[in-house]
Structures are given as C-alpha cells and as structure tokens.
Amino acid sequence: MARNTVGPRAQQPWAEDYYYQPASPASAWPAAPGPAPAAAAAPAAPPRAARTGGQTAADHQTQRRAAKSRVDEWMEVDFKFGGSRIKRKAVALILLGLPAPVPLFFMLPALLTLNSNTFAVSVDDTLGTGAEVCLFLCLLVTPMVTLTGQHWFVPLRRWYGIMMAACSVGDAVAASITDDFAGGVFGRVAGHVFELMGFFMVMLVIPIVCTSNPWAQKKLGKYWKRFQRLTYVIWGLLACHLILLEGFGFESGDNGSGFAGDGDAVFHQRFYQYAACSLFLLTLRLPPVKRWIVARQNEGRMWLVWVTVAPIFAIFVIGFAYILNEQIFKGIDSFTENPSAE
C-alpha cells in the first residue's frame, strides 16, 4: 500500500486506511522519557530486571510496541490455501468485512422481483439501519486502534464506509421511487425535515466515497483529510435524523419504533441506541482522552484503561446489539418479501 503523505494518522476518516502503512512507533506514540533510541534498538527483549520490577515508562513503551508489532506481524504471515499463499490478515479482513453488504443482500429479492410493496414498506428500515451499522463499524476502527495499538484491521474502515454509502444511497433512491409522500421525487426524499437530514447525509456521503481513493488523496493534498472529516457531519446529521424520526421518547408499552410490545421500549428507541454507541466512539476520539490512554499504556497500566473503558464499551455493545437486532429482523422480513411496517 502507498504511504500516507497527508499528515498524522490520528482522527482518520474511513478512506485514510487506503494508504495505511504501519508507521514507526515514534510516529504513533509520544516520545517517552528515557533513552528512546536504546529502547528502539532492542524492542523485543527487555532486560530481566526491567520485567521483574522497577520498570520505567520507556520499558513499558518498548513492551507495548513489541506487543503491537507481534499481533500485526502475526497477521502479516502467509499460510498456504489451496495452491496459493494468503496472509492471515486477508482472511481476517474478509471475514470481518463480509457482514457489511448483508443489508443490500436483504433487499435483493425485492429488487429482482421489482416488489415495490417491500421497498415502500421496509427499505428505510433495512438499508437505513444497515447504513447506520456500517457507519458505526467504520467509526469503531479508530477507537480500537487507540485501545489495542493494532493496525491490521484499519482497512475495514474504508470498506465499511463504502458499504455505508451504498446502503444510504440505495435507501434514498428507493425512497425517491416508492415512498408515498407528496411533491414528486424531491418531496419523497426531502419533503419532511427528517428526510431532509437523510438527504443531506446522502449528498455528503457521495463526494466522500468518491474521494476515498489514492488519486483523490493526491489531488486534494492537505485538504483531503479535512474533506474526509465530513463523515463526522454525517454522524451528527444522523442524530438529527433519528431525533426527528422518533423523538426522544417512546410509545408507552410498545417498541419505540413499532407496534409489538416486547416490554423493552427504551432499548428499541433508535436515538438511544445511537447515543449509546456514540458515547464510546466520541469519547475515545477526544485528543485529551487519547493522550491519557497513551500515557497509561506508556506507564504499563493498560489494565486501568480497560477498567475505565469497560462500562463505556458495554453501553456501546448494548446499543449496537439492538441496532443489529432491528437490522436482522427487518432484513429477514424484507428478504422474504413479507415486509414489516413496525
């Protein structure tokens, strides 16, 4: 892969991984107190004395770097598959990336049979939720890099970003054809304020995905990163979209978004799911928090990071699980062309 030439890797939007090349630890971690060159000279074998007690920040950083490179290096190793050799990383990336097109797959039968009813009733839920899932997975990459120090999964950011764009554009196109709002095509995609937010998101996602390639990065130079950061505007617009769609509350005794009461209306409320996921994604993007995590890593007190982050991550997992639940059930309904209007 080509080298990223446009600046530091912190706060990368999705397309930046296209140019990802494992950077030197010095660029990834702040300079540690102590003789860094010496530490860099022997990263994999710190002295026994340093391992058993009286560790310095530099020792821990060295161990951290070694740990990071061990996982990334393990992922870079080839193995034999059939008649060819494949990197472990490639297999892992394919497996992790496979679920991303599933929302599009759910709509395929309705597309092949031109079932306008399925599109009219459930495309918003299936592709809209799919776009949300892909956006969150795309945004999850940076916090995971911060937490684990590993980079092998960074290419997933671009993949999830592209799938997010595909789902959101598909949703907008289907809505422009099959929705029953007045006002023609524009009325169907932007006739209500919540739709207008979705329309803005689609209008933003198109140029972002079009510029997520080496040629565009070269052409845009230092502006490319800023441009890609429009992803964060989409993230914000999604909050407006969901608030305008369902409000902050929920129907008493029912699911926030539907009819069937399964008793956990709060967990089904889409904005709450969004907020639960965003809390983790946003917090771990804040520069002071990233610096704090790096400092703890350098001190060798990673356990403190995990303990602190665990409740935030648990909230993320709960929110994301309910989004996935929505995606799976609505998606299966769409796939069987028995759309749920919930």
Partner: protein, 194 residues
C-alpha cells in the same frame, strides 16, 4: 484518581483526558445499572402489554409473541398487491387479444390461471386468526373456482368459444372481489386475538 500522570519529580497531575474518561465511565456505569434494573422488568411489561392487547401466541414465525393488526394487514397487503398487479396485467393482455389472436389470448389466460393458483397457495399459507379463517376459506374457494373456469376458457378451440366464457368469468371475478373486500375489512378492523 485514574487520571493521574506522574511527572519526573514524583508530583502527580490530573489531566483533562483523565477527568473526561472517568466522568464518562461513571456515567456509563450508572446507565448500565439503570439498564439492568429496566431489563429486569421486561418480562412483566411484555406480559402486561400482551394481556392488554388480547394477543394470542404468534401467528408468524418471527419470534413475536403477538401478531398485531398492522402486521397482519401488512402481510395481507404484501400478498395481494403483487398478485392483483399480475392479474390485471394478464387480464389486459387477454382483453387486447380476445378479438383477433387465439394464441396470445390463450397464453394470457394460462398466465392468469398460474397467477390465480399462486394466489390461492399464498392465501392458504397466510396464518390468520380463527375469526378470519372462514372468510379466507371462502376467498380461496372463489379463487379456485375462477381459476378452474379460466383454465377451461384457455382450452377453447376458437375465439368465439373463448369469449363465450367471459360472462361466467366476470361473475366469478365479482364473487372473488366480494370475498376479498370482506376479508380486507376484517383484517383492517383492529381485532382482539389477532
């Protein structure tokens, strides 16, 4: 405090990042506790909602304990809309050729028979509450009768003989439409036990 950072002199300082992540972590922990408390009441709330709605065990395979009227209406609409569109297309093809093209008219009627039989099969598979089953049964019977008649019409050896079936087919269609309206009205009415 978790946000302490050790300076070279041994003095500790509290960093902004530490404060932020600790605050968010505490908030998340409180939210988790609230979520656990809320989740512990899910079963009781669900039972109360089902009782209030008079729901029966699910009629759908979607792991829902209750098929509500809007869900049922959606299922019925999803079944009928494409079938009605297909039957209209087939009927238009027959109307366009019944005067002058036996082969095309025969093909149109054969397609109509296929569509009607497919609709009958789908209606038979639609899970309905007991109160609606007689209506669905009547609609299926009417559709079957119409399909049989249309099949007989399609086997006609001449256009004039084929057209002679038109009046009987229209009567059969009227019966199907009446039964469809009755079932549609029953489905559109919010009912207990659905």
């Amino acid at each position: 405090m978790t946000s302490e950072m050790y300076a070279p002199g041994g003095r500790s300082t509290i960093t902004l990042g530490g404060v932020i992540i600790t605050a968010v972590s505490c908030l998340s922990a409180l939210l988790l506790i609230a979520a656990i408390i809320y989740a512990s009441g899910i079963g009781a709330r669900e039972q109360a909602a089902l009782t209030a709605a008079g729901c029966e065990p699910t009629l759908t395979p979607l792991m829902q304990q209750c098929t509500t009227q809007p869900i049922l209406a959606g299922q019925y609409r999803a079944l009928m809309t494409p079938a009605a569109q297909q039957l209209s297309t087939d009927a238009a093809a027959y109307a366009a050729s019944e005067e002058d093209n036996l082969a095309v008219a025969e093909a149109a009627l054969t397609a109509e028979v296929t569509s009607e039989r497919a609709l009958v099969a789908k209606l038979g598979a639609l899970a309905l509450p007991p109160a609606m089953r007689p209506l669905a049964k009547a609609l299926i019977s009417a559709n079957q009768a119409r399909a049989t008649l249309t099949a007989e019409q399609a086997r006609s050896s001449s256009l004039s003989r084929m057209r002679s079936f038109n009046h009987r087919v229209q009567l059969a269609t009227a019966t199907v439409e009446t039964d469809m309206k009755l079932l549609q009205a029953a489905i559109d009415t919010p009912v207990r036990g659905a």
